[in-house]
Amino acid sequence: MDELDPVIHAQARLRIMAALSTLELDGSISFPRLQELLDMTAGNMSTHLRKLEDAAYVDITKTHKGRTPITYLGLSKKGRRAFEDYMDTLRTVLGEQP
């Protein structure tokens, strides 16, 4: 239980997960909007999103608005659970009540 999930336990990925956790259940956000909110470069964010997607923590939906392709990102059920577990573990490590 005291093992911190290595997929989330990196600053960039924790920031992405934290931002996505503020969305409502099953809500999603477009790639450029998330990039703007986090102020990350597209390349950096893509790299970390791939790791989160490989762990099935993030759902990625590709769609079109007119002719422009848009990518929407949201936490998967597994991702939301993993994020909550990560927070609980972090608080336990810090000696707080999870």
């Binding site: 600053q11 960039a12 920031r15 934290a18 931002a19 503020t22 809500g27 929407y72 927070m87």
Partner: protein, 239 residues
Amino acid sequence: MTNDKNTADAASAAAETALVDDDAALDPAAMLALMQNQQRSVETQMGAFVPYITLAWGLTWLLGFGALWLIDGLQPAFSLPLATAVPIFIGTILVSGGFSAWLGIRSGRGMRGNSASAFTGTVYGITWSIGATALAVFGSALQRQGMSAETANFFYPSAYVLFAGIMYIIAAAIWHAIPSLVGGCWLVVIAVAAPFFGYPGHYLFLALAGGLAFIALSVFGSIQQRRIRTLTNGGGRRG
């Protein structure tokens, strides 16, 4: 406050290291602070438009109800013609309504909610139109039954302000927005208190009590947001 300071210290430590390597982890306390600050930063950025809307409505109240008061409020020294006052009143409401809608849509760009929240938002939006129309019909029905023009001068502003107040309270309940709850309760109070001031004092009361309260709410909201932005190191903007 100590907690805030610790959070800020941990966050600045987090941010500095983030510049070096954002694939690395920090110590648990700094990671917790980074996560909390990121969440607050996102929420603050998403709500950054709210003080602007509140300010717009504050000015609308001041100018709109102020114009109605000026029809007879400073007689005989000065009188704003009815033909000028009413367009100012309606115009400021339309401008603020359009501005609010534009900012609201802009802040929601790139966001997709679930179907339940889309339903809630649509029903809430339609309720404004239903209520506004219903009050107009209700008022004209009362006038047909003998409500005088003098009484109508009290009925319409109070009915609409009361309705707006209740809608603010409902918004607060749906979206957990405390400022909306405070603003809504205040509107309900001033709506029912206004007629006690008589004509045309009730317009001046609504202009000042409504307008200044919304401007104060806007200033309070901006200060709150600035405080959070400072605390989260410019919005967690690193890497």
